[in-house]
Structure formats: structure tokens, C-alpha cells
């Protein structure tokens, strides 16, 4: 087998040699002429280049390289333009930068007007209800106007405060309450209304005094009690589960999961008025 394979390659070479023998090569005289021409060319100082020039060869024209280079330049140019446009040194106005958007900065007495204007400009019209003093009473949800009338302001802001302290409310419930003009917004039922200023509500909750904390503990029990009650409830729930009794779990809070619910944002101003914006 191995001899056969060796013979295969030898046979191929033998056949190759036979074919080479058929090849017509220059005669002695032609060889003499060739080397004499070679010597003459060398004596004339001509450079003797052994690389033959063939008609059958051609230099490739790499057009695709030019196309690739153009595409690369376009890509790099676009990337560079994007980088320059987004840089802080760009002269192109960038609406998202704080310097160009008065709504994105700190509110001071100097920039309050521009801040208000910026807020109005930055809110898309489809998300912000059209506000005017004429229809604000007809639609109590539109609480965004700055009103010097303390009564109206207090009433509207009271509605907002009432709605924000009831986190279990659904959107529909909120609208119903907001439509209800009989809610005593300036009464003590609306908690934490401090001079009709609902923005204090959050501050008051945060800065709760110790006696209020104690009152709340007295009303609801301290944390240990709450934990004990919860633990007891869990034990009862497990017992009921053991007894194959179905436990009805109350429905989850719809407010937290509802992202479409308009969330009020209070924007205090220097003159004591408050602007409420929903988004």
C-alpha cells in the first residue's frame, strides 16, 4: 500500500517530467543571443530587470477600497459631529442643559419668572391641562393657576392636600373628591394645612415633633406592639391555612402601581403663592 502511494507521487513526477520534455525551449543559438543581449544591455548601463512584463497581467484597481474609505470618513465625521454637538463647549443650544432650561435650576427671587415660564414651556400640552382662571372652577383638577384669592386658593389646595394624604385612592376616587366642592378644605379634617399652604404638609410630616410621635404611638401602638400584632395575625393566617380556610387578601394599592395617575408637584414661590403642576 505504502509502496503504491510512493509510486503514485513518483508516477506523477514522471508524467510531469515527460510533459516538460515536450516543452519547446530556446536553442543554443537563441541562448547565445540572449546572453549577448544581456551583456550588451548591462554594458550600456541599462538596468537589467528580471521581472518580465506580461500582457496577461493587470494591476487590480481597488475601487472598493475607495468606497470603504469614503464610508469610514462619513462615519467618523458623523461621530465627531455628535461628540462636538453634545459637548459643553458647543455653541448649538441644548434644550436639556440647565443653563438653557430655567426649569432645571435653583429657584431664586431673580429667576422666578423665567422659572415659571420654563416650567410652562417644558410641559407638553397634552400632559398639562389647559389652565385659565375661567375654567378652573369648572374643573377643579386644574389647580395650576396662581391665584391671589385666598379662599379659592385654599379650597383648591385643600383638595390637593386631601388627595395626597390618601394613598389608597384610585384615580376615579381622586376625581370624585376633586369634583366635590363641599369638602371643607380649610377645616381641621384636612390635616396639616398650615395657613392654607399645602407645601408645608410634607415638611410637617418630616419634622414631626416628639410629642406628636408619642401621640401616634399611643394611638397605634409602638413598633413592638405592631410587630407583635402582625406576628399574631400571621399565626392566625397560618392556622387558617392549615384548616383549608381561604383567606381573602385585600386588593393591592392601586395608587402606587398606576403610573398614569397625575402626581401633584408643588412649586413654592417667594410671594407665598403655590403653583401645582401635574405630570
Amino acid at each position: 500500500m505504502s509502496k503504491q502511494k510512493n509510486n503514485d507521487i513518483q508516477d506523477k513526477y514522471r508524467r510531469f517530467s515527460e510533459e516538460m520534455d515536450k516543452f519547446e525551449l530556446p536553442s543554443e543559438q537563441e541562448l547565445l543571443d540572449l546572453i549577448q543581449q544581456h551583456d550588451a544591455a548591462k554594458a550600456d548601463g541599462k538596468q537589467v530587470d528580471f521581472t518580465p512584463v506580461h500582457k496577461e497581467t493587470k494591476t487590480t484597481k481597488p475601487l472598493w477600497r475607495y468606497a470603504a474609505a469614503v464610508l469610514l470618513l462619513v462615519f467618523l465625521g458623523t461621530a465627531a459631529w455628535l461628540v462636538v454637538w453634545n459637548s459643553p463647549f458647543s455653541s448649538t443650544p441644548n434644550n436639556n442643559s440647565p443653563s438653557n432650561n430655567p426649569a432645571a435650576g435653583t429657584i431664586t427671587a431673580d429667576n422666578e419668572d423665567s422659572f415659571r415660564q420654563g416650567i410652562s414651556d417644558s410641559i407638553p400640552p397634552e400632559t398639562m391641562p389647559a389652565h385659565s382662571e375661567a375654567n378652573s372652577d369648572a374643573n377643579p383638577l386644574l389647580l395650576s393657576q396662581v391665584n391671589n384669592d385666598n379662599t379659592a386658593k385654599t379650597r383648591n389646595q385643600g383638595q390637593v392636600a386631601t388627595s395626597t394624604i390618601l394613598p389608597n385612592m384610585t384615580c376615579e376616587e381622586y376625581i370624585v373628591i376633586a369634583d366635590d366642592q363641599t369638602i371643607p378644605t380649610d377645616s381641621t379634617d384636612s390635616p396639616a394645612l398650615d395657613n392654607g399652604h399645602p407645601s408645608r404638609l410634607t415638611i410637617k410630616d418630616v419634622d414631626m415633633k416628639q410629642d406628636e410621635v408619642n401621640d401616634r404611638r399611643a394611638l397605634h401602638g409602638d413598633k413592638k406592639d405592631q410587630h407583635r400584632k402582625r406576628h399574631k395575625a400571621n399565626i392566625e393566617k397560618n392556622d387558617n391555612r392549615d384548616k383549608n380556610i381561604n383567606v381573602i387578601v385585600p386588593k393591592q394599592n392601586t395608587y402606587k402601581g398606576n403610573t398614569n395617575f397625575p402626581r401633584p408637584h408643588y412649586i413654592p414661590s417667594a410671594n407665598g403663592n403655590t403653583r401645582v403642576i401635574y405630570y
Partner: protein, 169 residues
């Protein structure tokens, strides 16, 4: 020795080993037809330029093989750098009939998997050079040449098996 007598002596030597030069031109290049003739003439001119330095200490065939191989490889390197050959066009103008083309292509394919040193050894071995002569040309020891020859044969067997669709593990 006069110039003409040197020329005659050189031409006689070339005529004696012209088939060896042609085989080296064929196996170390991808040229055929007129291109191969051009290459052959270039090899002859290079041999003529090197002839004054030939001291006749080695066999003429060994010297011719070494010089022509070196010349052809240089030419091929230059061509590869400067321009791209279109094989189809060369094949079209080769003037070979189909059977000759097949034989040359088969042999080229068989030895294409050898590295240049192995190719030298194989061609010289097929041309009937002794191991000592191959060793002198390739700057290897005779023992190393023998070992390399064995490996070359194994490699070629494997290639032939693959060519025939026989896979051995």
C-alpha cells in the same frame, strides 16, 4: 579563456540541464506558457551573471538548481508585491492541452503543502540528487535530509489519501 568560449561553455551547460531549470521554473511558480518561457530566460540570464563566481567545486546541476530556484523565488516575490496575477488569464494563454494542465496542477497541488525547504528536498530527490548533494544545497546534514525525506513522504501520502477521499486517523 575568451569570452566566446565561456559563452559556449555556459550554453552547453545550460542545454545539458535545461529540463531541470524548466522544472524548477514550473514548480516554484504558477506560470505557464509564454510566462514560463520568460521566466526560463530570466533564470538563464541570472545563471549567466552568476557563472563567473561558479568555482566548479560542486556539481553543475546542484549549482544550477540553487541559483535558478533563488532567482525564481525573488521574481515571484517581486511580482506578488507589485501586481496581482490573474490565474485564469494565464491559464488561457498557456497553450497546454487539458491532460498536461491536469498533470502540472496535480503535482503542484501535491507539493503545495510542503514548506519551501521540504519542496527543495523533494524536487532534488525526485531529480535524482544524492542525499549528500541535497545536504550541500540546503545547508543541512545528510541525516537531517534523510529524516526530512521520510517526513515529506508521509505528508505526501496523507495528501494523496485526502485527495482520494481516504481519511486515516
Amino acid at each position: 579563456m575568451t569570452q566566446s568560449s565561456t559563452q559556449n561553455e555556459f550554453v552547453a551547460m545550460i542545454k545539458q540541464h535545461e529540463r531541470l531549470i524548466l522544472k524548477v521554473c514550473t514548480l516554484f511558480s504558477n506560470f505557464k506558457g509564454e510566462d514560463l518561457r520568460d521566466l526560463y530566460q530570466d533564470a538563464v540570464c541570472a545563471l549567466w551573471e552568476s557563472y563567473p563566481s561558479f568555482r566548479h567545486e560542486s556539481k553543475e546541476s546542484t549549482w544550477i538548481f540553487a541559483v535558478s530556484r533563488h532567482t525564481i523565488l525573488n521574481i515571484m516575490r517581486k511580482r506578488r508585491t507589485n501586481e496581482v496575477l490573474v490565474d485564469n488569464e494565464i491559464t488561457d494563454v498557456s497553450g497546454y492541452d487539458e491532460s498536461t494542465k491536469d498533470i502540472i496542477d496535480e503535482l503542484r497541488m501535491a507539493i503545495a503543502h510542503l514548506d519551501p525547504a521540504e519542496k527543495d528536498i523533494f524536487i532534488m530527490w525526485m531529480e535524482g540528487f544524492k542525499n549528500s548533494e541535497i545536504a550541500e544545497t540546503t545547508n543541512l546534514s545528510e541525516g537531517n535530509v534523510a529524516v526530512k525525506l521520510t517526513r515529506i513522504k508521509k505528508k505526501l501520502k496523507k495528501e494523496i489519501n485526502i485527495e482520494r477521499g481516504i481519511v486515516t486517523l
